[in-house]
Each structure stands twice: as structure tokens, then as C-alpha cells.
Symmetry: D2
Subunit: 152 residues, 4 copies
């Protein structure tokens, strides 16, 4: 039964936060001297992509072999502290909900202990060609059931 | 009295939606064949910048003459329909709240009548050098009091 | 005979420079307070795209109807003067060579009379799916033969 | 004597190529399904920044402590093969010329043995506030004199 599965997965994955480190380059900053707000969405996506790779899935393979893509349907993001050139930022990824055709992530961008930004991101699964919603791959559901240890 | 002023302004500006047209170029798209989600935040910002210019303010001048910058403190964005290369997109700007040191905008990205994305964006005013919150320029409050007709 | 056609076209088009105006937004700048160097390549592409539209071609239609895409094979770019937030920049487009499967453009980014950057860009035509070089669409050759007046 | 120093440095550094690995994310691709051409300039810059860090210099510190920035004055780039989502790309950095106020880099983007793009980039040193050309920091000249082993 999908909903229960989803709930269990969410709890278990939530216990094991995944983190991905990014560096701030010129391309990320703006004339205010800080990281431009839209670029946090790039950082958050890089970390989700690496989380997905860590649980065994590459997006291009999913597209090629299963004809599926992930698209973003909703983002809430709070920008708390500015990041600057050369900063090293850890991007946390927590799956907080796994539905039949979507996942919800909670993410944070941290510079050491300082939280720079937090986000809640809803990602939907769609057919590559039509962009019509589609169930998450069964293999992904299965992977999320197993306890995962991240060595990144 | 600032709060009342703010409320009045908000209502009046809300009655006069401002719109700015953008075109989708290669730079905006991704390998899904649609506009990459972070790039809507660029479109929304372009339209807010042009709204600000339409009410009489250029951001570089505000920085140079008043030592103030606008930074984004919160974004909520719903992505409803995909946009593709060559699409012409109208970006609506509505000020829904003007506080002493911040403004809240409601924005929509439309392709003709089709709403592609909507957003609620909170913008804070800060001192350029310190990035510490600062009151909105009085001139901006004053400008928002006057009825504005946009000819764009 | 293609080469002669190409040469003639090049000369005629060269006589009628096309220009497209862009505005510098926060997204374009970096922490140096100027337009980030890679973003000029976006400006140059927007202008080439609008030039193509002005001579009757939309890239998405070319992809959908002819199965062809344009890709960049070489760029030379000189950055002469910095551009800043809110600057209005005119991007010139001149076709200086039309081959059987490629075109060469000379472009300039100007703020009024001041030349900010110049570029020479070689664009190749490829099949969408394979990215294998393909002849330029006959319709494009035909369009380039006609005298073109740009009203932009 | 600067010129001789510069020549010696260039030769020695040229013998020890530096390489930095980047991953292709959605943000880097376009609707052609490949890395958008301007984004290679971001990859090349990330690698130059990491090369600079490897020889002991952080750009933000150079700006804060010496009041100097590096700006790009010329780029030549050949795009040879397309890169796709999830590709792992090695970006090579070779200093081929060190002048009094500028450096020239030769760079390549490789996916394994396949060369995707090559570039020649001229970087100038400027005063942060005025953007007027300035001599390269003496410390950088000194660092380039020492044999450097990169452990990255």
C-alpha cells in the first residue's frame, strides 16, 4: 500500500540527512556582493541530484531508460544570511514526504553552523515527452525502503 | 502614520497591476525542453525592477545616492505549466504589502491567458555596505502614495 | 552555387546591421559590480535569435518543423569596458559569412557610443536528434538573399 | 626583472597542468539537451579559481586585503563535442603567459579522453574600486616562481 510505504520511507530517510558541499564562485554572486537569490535554487537542485545519485539513480538514465523526468512544482525558500564569494556551503537534503508521483524535500544551506537559507521543494515525476504526471519509478520506491548510509 | 500609509498604498497599487514582457531564450531552458525553475526567479525580478523604474526608481541610483539595496528574504513559487523556447511571457507585479523596511509582491507569469507560475516575494531594504535592514526610502513611500498609471 | 550566394548574402546583410537592446539586471552582474563575462554570451545570443526572427525564423519552429538546431562552434570575445546594473546595452548583429552548414556573426555590445565588448561567433547547423552537422535550411538561404529592412 | 620572471614562470607552470572536475546539472543544459555554450565559461572560471586557490590565493581575500580583482579581457573558445546532463568533466588549467598586469590561460574541458571544448583566456588584474589595470600581486608572482605540486 503506497501511502504507508511512503510514510515509512519519509521517516527513515529523514533520520539520515544527506549533505552536499558547494563553493561560491563569481557566477553565483551579484553586484550586492552576495549570492543571487535564484542561484540558491541551483545549489538546492545540485544537492537533490547528488542525493538521488547516492540512492542509486542518475537523472539522465531515468530519462533514457524509463522515459521519466523530475520537475519542480513548488518552492518555498527563506533567505536568512548572505553568502559571499569563496564561501563553502553545505546543502542538506531531507525527504519529508514521498507520494505516488511526487516527493517533498526540506533543504538547508549552511556555512558551518550558520543557516543561510532553508527551502521546502515539491518535485513531481512526469513523462519526458508529454510532461504529464507519472508514478515515481518503482525502483526508487524500493531504494527508499532500504536503510541508506551516505558516504559522500 | 506609516502602517496606514502602507495599507492604503498596497490597496491602490494592487488595483493597477504592472506587467513586463520577457522572451524565452536558450539560456532560460534546460534539457527537459522547458524553462529551468530557477530562471522564473530571474523573470520575476526583472519585472519588479521595471515596476520600480516605472514608479521612478532605479536600483543603481538608490544604491549610489541612498546607500540602500533591496534583497529577497522569502519566495514562494508555484510552477503550474511549462514554458518553452521562444515563448513570450507576461510577468505581472502587484504590491500587496508595504512595511517600513520591506515590501511583499504577488507575481504571475502568463503566456496569454495561461498562468505558468505564480509567486509571492518578500523584499527587504538593507544598507548597501552592512546588509543591515533599513527603512524603505521615504521617496518610495511618497511615490507609492500617488496614483500611478503605467504605460509600458 | 552556394559559395557565391553565401558571399553575396554576407555582403548585403553586413550593410544592414541589426541591433537588439538588452537591460542589465541583478542576474547579469557579479560581486565585482559589473556584468559577468559569460553573460555577454547570453546577450549576444539573444540578439542573434532576434535577428533570426527578424528575417523570418523562430528557432523552436526550425527544430519542430525541420529537425534542425543551431549550435555554437567557436567564440572570440574581447571585453573592453565594464557594464553595470541598469545599463541599457545595444547588441549589434552582422552576418559576415554564410557557409553551407554554418554562419559567422560579428557582434558588438554598445552603451551609447561606447563599445563594451565585441565578438565573432561561428554557428553551425545540426540535426536536432543526432547533433550531426546539416545544411542550413534552404528557406534561410533564400531569406538572406532578399534585401532586409529591420524595424525593431 | 619582471618579463624574464614571467617567462620562466610560464614555462614551469605549463609543465604542471592543474585540473578541476565539474558535474553537469540541469542548470547547465539547454533545450538542445546539451551544455549551453556560455556555461563552459563558468566551468573554465571555476577551474581557474581553484588553480589560484591551489597556488595559495583566494579571490575574496585578494579583494579585501589588496584591493585587487581579476577581470577577463579576452576569450577564445572552441566547442568541439557536446556535454550532457550528469557528465563528469575535467577542466584543465595551464598558465601560458604571465605579464605584469595580466595572465593568459589555456584550458580544456575533457570527458575522459574526449576534448569537449578548449579555450584561451586573458585575465587582467584591476583595482577593485576603479577597475583600472594594476600590477599582479607580488605574492602571486613569487608563488608562481616556486615549483608547485597540485594535490586536488
Amino acid at each position: 500500500m503506497q501511502p504507508n510505504l511512503a510514510t515509512n520511507v519519509a521517516i527513515r530517510v529523514h533520520d539520515k540527512p544527506f549533505s552536499w558541499t558547494v563553493r561560491v564562485y563569481y557566477e553565483d554572486t551579484d553586484t550586492c556582493g552576495i549570492v543571487y537569490y535564484a542561484n540558491y535554487l541551483k545549489f538546492f537542485e545540485r544537492a537533490r541530484t547528488e542525493w538521488l545519485r547516492a540512492v542509486g539513480f542518475e537523472q539522465q538514465k531515468i530519462a533514457d531508460e524509463l522515459g521519466l523526468r523530475f520537475v519542480i512544482s513548488r518552492v518555498e525558500c527563506d533567505f536568512r544570511l548572505p553568502a559571499k564569494l569563496d564561501d563553502v556551503i553545505d546543502i542538506d537534503v531531507r525527504v519529508v514526504r514521498v507520494g505516488s508521483a511526487s516527493m517533498v524535500f526540506e533543504q538547508a544551506a549552511r556555512r558551518g553552523p550558520a543557516v543561510l537559507a532553508t527551502a521546502r521543494v515539491r518535485v513531481g515525476c512526469v513523462e519526458s515527452n508529454t510532461l504529464v504526471p507519472a508514478p515515481l519509478p518503482l525502483q526508487l520506491h524500493a531504494a527508499l525502503e532500504k536503510p541508506t548510509e551516505f558516504h559522500v
